[in-house]
Amino acid sequence: MSSLPSRATTVIVGGGIQGLMLAFCLAERGSTDTVVLDAGYWQGGASGRNGTMVRGGFASQEWTRFFGRSLELWVGLSKRLGENVMFTRRGYAILAESEAMDGLLDTMTATHRLCGVQSRRLAASQIADILPHADHTRIRGALYFDQGGIAPHHAVMKGLRKACIARGVRLFYDTPVTGFEKSNGRMAAVLCGETRIEADVTVICCGAQNTRVAALAGLELNGEAHRIEALATEPMRPVIGPGIALPERFTYLHQTARGEIVGGSEVPGETPRESLANTVPIMAAFARHLVEMFPCLADLRILRHWTGMLHVTSDHAPMMGPHPDLADLWVSGGWMYGIAGAPAAGDMLAQAIVTGVIDARMAPFAVDRFRRGALIVEGSTVNV
């Protein structure tokens, strides 16, 4: 590994999907003098521990416009990178079990139409076609995204890493940022222990560590670290085609190309804390939801169970853009759907950094919205 440089046009702190996608999009726009610094190992953050599900439509217009654009960018990403990210439009179904949720799905469909994102309500016979192994007595309705699907994180992260390196981006893992240097009201340099790296632009995308890393620069950032857990079963021949969200059960799942069922549940009431240790109640909850919804999976064994950490903001929406209190510092954080959102975030942030133009679809997610009281109301997320 080469040693750290003493300056770079852009220093990106955090080499998860957000950091790498941004580095790639900057390179695409001709800005290749980028250094990415990451405290852990490649894929050690949430970007290597997630459910890999991608959808374009949510309940709010803000989310739908942004994630709808991101979904468009997922298609074609392999070509841009020159690497196979294995994105596949296997579909994405949100299942409603109660009348209230079914009603919400109607409202969502209307929002999607307004924002130009494709989605449709499924009739019972269509649900049976798409999910032949589900317990149909439990399902009252479904909202389906034909274009939604799966972006396997191992392939995405591998493609991004190779594409970044091929374009001259310098990646350093196991290299924690330990401090920042401010001068003349701007972010001037990033410190890794003894090493100082001067930068024109610094971007923080440290996932769950965002608030802690911002604090190294004496800055406040909305939100807190939040843990969520996921599980993978032994592989089966294809049983479940699309990605599935069960909002009333705080559960999501899909079947990977390797045949494993991967997903997770949240159990409301957990005290927020920073820990990657797994817990029995969450394993039990996920297993129960899965077996109730897909009874034929009862005897399938659980291979592994792991925990990932997220940065969750007070309105649960991501934050993207310049930091309001310090020039030349940017943030991409608050990601609960940071896989789905990565292509749009990378593209729009790169555009903003290089040209100064903030895309209208990114603008509502500005970092200073909490201060302005401009929170985003979104009612359809599974996490939290």
Binding site: G40, G76, E274, L276, A277, V280, A284, L290, L303, R304
Partner: protein, 488 residues
């Protein structure tokens, strides 16, 4: 393979891929199949290489049984009329066309097909390929009619819980019980101390006060030792959470398979598996058995011979260059060629560190083991140092580091040469250790290969995160654990 003199009487028959197989009283399906010289029980993930009863690579022990997927044939009582079917085959086990995958150049099938040059890139071109890949990768078919009521889990409290029914586990359990403390002992064996008995050891009786959970896997340790998850091998039974004041891990050591070409072939097995076949089931592990080891090979050979097994060679493991065979073992190269149909390894001996790791495992950027919490301790052989992974003078690039996922030494060495030396990264690039064994013994091989290629000490390399429950329990059993452990 022949039945040995102490065989029990025939008890019935079951079906294996439609073929009728007789079994004796107390047989597992694995033992009964072995007695009929049926040694290929499964196929590997990518190359569809034959896999059998090894004791080391769990994927070789898995079959569909009466519609349930991935059942371990070595942990189940054979029953009259039971239907056992090979998985990961097409169209069927007797005639697996996918077996020709073996003939493809290995480079094409690296990292689970997924990053192979065969794979078309670009969303529209990738999607049809993905459908093919999903079919190829998923091993077990689905039985839509399969349903099972959720077995309501149990919570057990005791002053002490001991994992392992061997000499150290018994001693610890008896000592605690003698002090009047309540003790639970968890063992994988069908009886406590089955392994020691197979070696011919006579163990002290267990104190009456000890509650024994037999045929259970202790597959997860949570909340810094406060909750031990124990899953019964029988999928119909409920899992148990043991909440104890003290956890004693007396999990002993196992023989690690040699890291040589052919070590994945049916007919290669660890000492425990061979002894269980010979002692408990009275089935010869092979007609002509070669024993390799790390000092224990003579003892094991003598024990096998005492049980009526024919041993044709006995060698230190560092002389073993490779194991030869196409669909099963046909010989070994160890100095010269020796014809045999079975290789049993007795060492190098290594402990299973999973529970000890899980007890202290935590972190924010990475899960690290950390020191054992005060309430958890090791006892007996589990405390002893691990012996180095065994192979001949040179490391053979053709050997499989992770036979369940078909990860070769070659693939790992190429990545290491390209600068990838972090075990977590190597795991993610190759899938090494992501099969049903969940890293045992593949991550020992991984660390050994990294050390070998970089000149570092194996003990300083570390291993990827051991994650519970390692195929220990079913979804239905896990579902039955709801409300037994408080939310943290």
């Amino acid at each position: 393979m022949k039945r040995l003199a102490h065989a029990t009487q025939r008890a019935g028959t079951f079906l294996f891929d439609g073929r009728t197989v007789p079994f004796h009283l107390g047989d597992t399906p694995a033992a009964a199949l072995h007695a009929q010289a049926i040694r290929t029980l499964a196929r590997s993930r990518k190359f569809h290489r034959p896999r059998g009863l090894s004791g080391s690579f769990v994927a070789g022990h898995l079959c569909g049984v009466d519609g349930s997927p991935h059942v371990r044939l070595d942990r189940l009582a054979a029953a009259q009329g039971m239907r056992v079917t090979t998985e990961n085959v097409w169209p069927c086990g007797a005639f697996d066309l996918l077996g020709s995958a073996r003939l493809l150049p290995r480079r094409w099938l690296r990292a689970g097909f997924e990053h192979s040059p065969l794979m078309p890139s670009g969303t529209a071109r990738f999607e049809p390929w993905e459908r093919f890949m999903r079919f190829m990768a998923g091993e077990a078919p689905v039985h839509a009619g399969n349903r099972r009521a959720i077995p309501q889990g149990r919570r057990m409290t005791s002053d002490v819980v001991v994992v392992g029914g061997g000499p150290a586990g018994r001693e610890a359990a008896n000592a605690a019980a003698a002090q009047g403390r309540s003790v639970a002992l968890v063992t994988r064996g069908h009886v406590a101390g089955a392994k020691a008995a197979a070696w011919g050891a006579v163990l002290p009786a267990l104190h009456d006060g000890v509650t024994v959970l037999t045929a259970h896997d202790a597959c997860g340790l949570y909340d810094r030792g406060r909750h031990l998850l124990c899953a019964p091998h029988d999928a119909a039974s409920s899992a148990t959470i043991v909440a104890a004041g003290e956890v004693i891990l007396a999990t002993g050591r196992r023989s690690a398979p040699p890291l040589v070409a052919g070590a994945d072939l049916p007919g290669v097995m660890d000492a425990e598996t061979a002894l269980t076949l010979a002692h408990r089931h009275a089935v010869a592990p092979g007609e002509r058995v070669a024993v390799v080891g790390n000092g224990m090979e003579d003892t094991l050979a003598a024990r096998l011979e005492r049980l009526g097994v024919t041993v044709v060679a006995c060698q230190p493991v560092e002389r073993l260059e490779r194991i030869v065979g196409w669909s099963a073992v046909s010989g070994i190269d160890a100095g010269g060629h020796i014809a045999c149909d079975c290789v049993v390894h007795a060492g190098p001996w290594r402990s299973d560190r999973r529970l000890a790791f899980m007890a202290g495992a935590d972190g924010d950027l990475r899960v690290l083991g950390g020191p054992l919490p005060a309430m958890v301790r090791l006892a007996g052989a589990a405390q002893e140092a691990d012996e180095p992974v065994g192979h001949g003078a040179a490391l053979d690039r053709r050997a499989l580091a992770c036979p369940c996922m078909d990860v070769t030494v070659d693939e790992l060495l190429d990545l290491i040469a390209a600068g990838e030396t972090h075990v977590e990264v190597l795991k993610r690039l190759t899938g090494c250790g992501m099969g049903p064994c969940q890293g045992i013994p593949c991550w020992d091989n991984l660390a050994h290969i990294v050390a070998h290629a970089t000149g570092r000490e194996p003990s300083g390399i570390g291993h990827p995160t051991y994650r519970p429950p390692g195929a220990g329990l079913t979804l239905a059993q896990a579902a039955g654990l709801q409300d037994l452990v408080p939310l943290s």
